[in-house]
Symmetry: C2
Subunit: 518 residues, 2 copies
């Protein structure tokens, strides 16, 4: 069989059975092989950033990687922003980039470029497969690297002739990686740090933000009084009634500093030493208080929840009862539409098992409170700060979890980077409800313009943050891409539209025109 | 003054007075400085690929570079595909990428990445400006590199603190580069090659495809019988009645090989040794016949038209009369809509001085013939093969030439990569008429699937090339972004809509639903 056929069989056998695609000529043998390997589901996207963001969302919810299929260096370029987000969030992606035939590369054809260099920034592993016979083994290695732990972007560059030549055999999957053993010495040392009580903080990130990690941390809070926080933008946070609640570190450094004030020790649990999202003149980059000792409990290749549970045991807190969120939902909003009213409606109507892809930016600041006691759900955040992630991640989450409702909370400015995701939602009939907060501005930048001390901005500066001329009609955009859409005018209409969208299968978009918060 | 203010003054003084932007927090001082430097026009885009493609289109028509303003590594990532096209086409771009403050870079904040590495692929020059005092001089160097000849992408990485710190002074512009002297030895040597008559070819590219180069080549054709061809996808080709016509080398290698058949010598005039766009199994990458000698007359830093004129003189052809295209326009089409009918309508109605941004792909194959005798116009092609270029290039061309009508001929698949360009057309009230060929497929790939020998594709492979489920409604998309749009059903309606769009100022979109050619 040819290289492409062996590659697809190898991937499918290794559990990579979804591929988010935007192919071109050099990928045509991969495309042709899809009919030979029906276990591989190919999900077409109109733009590579949708493909890579969908692979990210898929990995977060499925717990194992999907593949992408991109077209040479420029296709990779279009996918880089969401690969950046995936890499920062620890999502595994088997990132397949087609290339010219090996012998064609020296001729500087129009699409020739150095793909490996462009991939390096976002990839834990980059390889150009040079022979058809060796391709399946390369694919096995890519899947292993992508699967982790921790998940990484593994970029496999696939020259067209390696794909089309005959002589390949599928390779068997690798043994799943075993997480590193719990380091009991570190656990014992940090158990002593817990004596600081409320002057000790636990910062949870990554894989610590699922039920096991949250419960373990909540036991430590109950038994020892330690302060538990979550990183600002988790890849996946389990939340809602019946789970321990956890406050996320604020995006604004001023508030984050207040959350961390008074700590003598901060223990990192699959999280990074917290730093300000951006730099601001005269303000420190690190957020922990001066003199606070920062300790790393676990991360990287570790079994994160097992390590946290070992700390619970070492601290004698196994029997402590974690404080759990009680069911509580906000009242249904009424009256004029506002960002707060929309968040309340989401909190009031959130169905059990929902997956929230949260890229609502400033309009979403009421969301955490409004959904704290909602039925149990997952929240997927903007891990790497590159906007245009929310809609693609929703695509991937819906493909990974076809039985769970997905709700994408989107800001207008962010949505417009990767709006093409709507078409894939329609094509695949994905059960995604997009709630589009349209405040007709890059509202966060209005705030940041002031915070970076850029003085009193004039009209030309303000115009750079303004999206009202012309106003974007998201109902028209969604309709143009095959997604039914509405624009409620009041909170009551919004509630009715949201109920309907959640009740009907397939994608919907609800545009809420709201005032900026800032 | 602060770094940003000095940077903007330096750029404006050096003739860079347009900046295509998509800023974020780290660029807020640049944005704030816009009110201090009114000579700099900032054109906001919703997506970085629009900004970089617009800078490309601007450079092609203005003959000098515009700047971009992008947000860190992911913003650059989103702009890479159209920077690739700009680099391949020799368009100068002063590509400004904001970065974290220098002291913040070590903290691995979410948006931290290695911008310089990602930029290298597409940039002839990359520099991170490390001090506020040194920033203006860096900007002068960036403008010089971008201006060429040849034009290049010069990437200036701008840390936030270098922007906001005080103590900068604007730098004076550099002396314009003088093109290299004509190499008379090469000219004399190649004048002898012209003795081959029709067995000698001239392949014109880049700066040879403007009036002076075309006339010079046409004199050689008239005097010596040499075969004149143009590269496949010129950055800017002057055409129409009163100019010498020139056939472009075909995209399909089979046809290109036929165009070059029988040549003993091929002289490259600011063009590359022609190669197949993609590799195909069992087919050669190079297109010139075996044994054909390939010579380079001029390119790079040379004065290209002057060198070509020197060849005319050396060949004693100065007095030869070039054959010029006579005015001739196709009849107005009638009856059912088809790609051919649309091309005929464009040819029949093309206004004098029009700029055509051609990304019509397969649907545009009738265009060259239909517009050959139209009033004089420029055609801007897809230089680097990365689709999603046509609409952004139209934005840039319209900003560069506000008094000339711009017509963007777009394929549906290509348009959907950077459709956000429509919003900038509306916001800036640019005089662009978009004619959208919607054949509801990646039609070129249907052809390529066969040409690469991928066998008889099954339904799953075909589905990867199909854009009909759901069909994209471009009238809705355009309306959603503020551009008036129509969907004529017949050729007569198309003609009426095209007349109206060309007569009215501001942007319009006309969606033509047509059958695929292949």
């Amino acid at each position: 069989m040819n290289g492409a056929q062996a590659l697809l069989r190898t991937l499918a056998e290794a559990g990579v059975q979804v591929c988010f695609t935007n192919p071109g000529t050099s990928e045509m043998h991969f495309v042709a092989a899809l009919d030979e390997v029906p276990r591989m589901r190919a999900v077409l996207t109109l733009f590579e950033g949708v493909a890579t963001g969908a692979a990210d969302g898929y990995a977060r919810m499925a717990g194992h990687p999907a593949a992408t299929l991109l077209h040479l260096g420029p296709g990779l370029g279009n996918g880089l922003a969401n690969l950046h987000n995936a890499a920062k969030g620890g999502s595994g992606v088997v990132n397949i980039v087609g290339d010219h035939a090996t012998y064609h590369a020296g001729y500087d054809a129009p699409l020739q470029s150095d793909i490996a260099t462009a991939a390096r920034n976002v990839s834990g592993w980059v390889r150009t497969s040079r022979t058809t016979a060796g391709l399946p083994a390369d694919a096995v290695e890519a899947v292993a690297v992508a699967s982790g732990p921790p998940g990484q972007v593994a970029t496999l560059i696939l020259p067209a002739d390696v794909s089309w030549d005959d002589g390949a055999q599928p390779a068997p999957p690798a043994e799943p990686a075993k997480p590193a053993q719990v380091d009991q010495a570190v656990v014992r040392r940090l158990a002593a740090v817990l004596d600081g009580g409320e002057r000790t903080g636990l910062l949870l990130g990554g894989r610590a933000l699922r039920e096991r990690g949250l419960v373990a941390a909540a036991r430590l809070a109950a038994a020892r009084g330690v302060r538990v926080l979550a990183e600002t933008f988790p890849a996946r946070l389990e939340r809602g009634a019946g789970l321990p609640g956890v406050d996320r570190l604020a995006y604004l450094a001023e508030f984050a500093t207040a959350q961390l004030a008074g700590l003598d020790d901060l223990i990192l649990v699959d999280a990074k030493d917290p730093v300000s999202f951006f730099a601001y003149p005269g303000k420190p980059s690190r957020l922990a208080p001066d003199g606070c000792r920062v300790h790393r409990l676990t991360g990287g290749p570790d079994d994160v929840p097992a390590t946290l549970e070992a700390l619970v045991e070492a601290a004698g807190a196994t029997g402590a009862a974690p404080q759990l969120r009680q069911p509580a939902t906000p009242e249904l909003p009424s009256g004029p539409l506002s960002a707060r009213a929309v968040c309340q409606a989401v909190g009031a109507l959130l169905p059990p098992g929902a997956i929230i892809s949260d890229e609502a930016q400033t309009s979403g600041i009421f969301l955490a409170e409004a959904t704290a006691g909602a039925p149990r759900h997952d929240v997927l955040c903007l891990t790497g700060g590159s906007i245009g992630q929310g809609l693609p991640v929703a695509v991937g989450a819906a493909v990974a979890c076809p039985d769970r409702p997905v709700i994408a909370l989107e800001a207008d400015g962010s949505a417009l980077y990767t709006f093409q995701a709507l078409w894939t939602m329609a094509r695949e009939n994905l059960n995604v409800t997009v709630v589009l907060f349209n405040n007709r501005s890059y509202a966060v930048l209005n705030m940041e313009l002031d915070r970076v001390g850029a003085g009193s901005p004039g009209p030309r500066a303000r115009a750079q943050l303004d999206l009202s001329e012309p106003p974007v009609d998201f109902v028209a955009l969604a309709s143009g891409l095959g997604v039914p859409a509405s624009r409620p005018e009041t909170a009551e209409e919004l509630v009715a539209d949201l109920r309907r969208a959640l009740a009907e299968p397939g994608p919907h978009l609800i545009e809420a025109v709201v005032e900026p918060i800032f």
